[in-house]
Amino acid sequence: MTRKNAARLLIAAAGVLALAAGILQGDMQDTMRKAVRLCLECVGIG
């Protein structure tokens, strides 16, 4: 395995672990809650 592929494997593992841990700690619901409500300051209205 080349060094580049080893780095890819490590990055992929880190990404999958972070994603899974994030889902388990409820980040997806947090994202959902934020995204379904209009954030007036985010779009510059006020």
């Binding site: 990055i11 880190a14 990404g15 899974a20 994030g22 995204a35 379904v36 007036l40 300051e41 779009v43």
Partner: protein, 292 residues
């Protein structure tokens, strides 16, 4: 070869329509509230846009950082790492609605600002915006004030103003009464970016976009990319000359993998996809550095 730009344009258009599939929302000025809003899209697309059916990764990242120190932003970070690793800045070239808008604006026939040493320097600005507006300010406010401040969305993001702010103010008369100085500032930034893109190719992506900055960090390892078959390449430099982004070589941090360079390569050495390709031996391809 001639249908490649058209294919890319169709993919860009399809991604813009998929990201913003809640078309009815534009008329009503109401946000989509379905379950897919918990998922991020790979490109820059404001989740406060009435059409958006999923979340913007940059907005989600800033809000996740605002939950520090209670919660680490693992979900969005993991998503960005996986998208960066698989697609990298292919997302910018193929799956970013705001990139599509910028490219269409650049088609307006006017004198154009060509890339130069100065635009190359400016291309570093997006890393500063990522560090300050996406990471430092939201984290600072979260730690010191306990208050979420998505600084990039609030003060800069022209996609949010265009897709969310302007469309909501147009559709909902009650918002017209609450607009103030912030709306004026963000509208001015948005207009400056849009006008800038008429004269300067993808000015926002090249100089300001923190999402492109994140994906550019994966340039060396991204699985899908435009690549050069070194055994065929005669280093004529036509690819870099043709490119409108601030690239120094095909596939570097500034490359959005649009593949336009493939059309000018005299040796057909540029290809799109994963690494490793069976190629003809260098002595058979008949090219040398002297062809520069």
């Amino acid at each position: 070869m001639g249908d490649r730009p058209l294919k890319r344009r169709l993919i860009q258009l399809a991604s813009a329509l998929i990201y913003n599939a809640n078309m009815a929302g534009f008329g009503k000025g109401e946000l989509y509230r379905g379950a897919t809003k918990g998922l991020c899209v790979p490109g820059l697309n404001c989740y406060s846009c009435p059409g958006a059916v999923a979340a913007c990764p940059l907005g989600s990242l800033q809000n996740a950082l605002s939950r520090l120190p209670r919660k680490a932003p693992l979900y969005v970070a993991g998503f960005l790492v996986l998208v960066g690793l698989t697609l990298g800045r292919v997302v910018c070239g193929f799956a970013c609605p705001f990139g599509l808008i910028q490219e269409l604006l650049h088609k307006i026939p006017t004198p154009k600002i060509r890339k130069s040493r100065w635009t190359r320097y400016l291309s570093w600005l997006k890393y500063g915006i990522l560090a300050v507006f996406v990471v430092a300010i939201p984290v600072w406010y979260a730690w010191t004030e306990g208050y979420p401040l998505p600084a990039f969305c609030k003060y800069i993001c022209p996609a949010g103003t265009l897709e969310g702010g302007w469309s909501l103010v147009a559709a909902r008369p009650e918002y017209r009464g609450v607009v103030g100085g912030l709306f004026g500032w963000k509208s001015a930034v948005c207009i400056a970016v849009l006008v800038g893109c008429v004269f300067c190719y993808r000015a926002f992506c090249r100089f300001l976009c923190p999402l492109g900055a994140i994906y550019s960090l994966f340039a060396r390892v991204a699985l899908v990319a435009v690549r050069v078959d070194k055994r065929l390449c005669c280093e004529c430099g036509l690819c870099v000359e043709r490119c409108k982004m601030d690239v120094r070589r095909v596939g570097d941090r500034e490359c959005i993998h649009c593949g336009e360079c493939r059309a000018v390569c005299p040796k057909n050495a540029i290809y799109f996809g994963r690494e490793k390709r069976i190629c003809q031996p260098a002595e058979e391809n008949g090219c040398s550095v002297s062809e520069r």
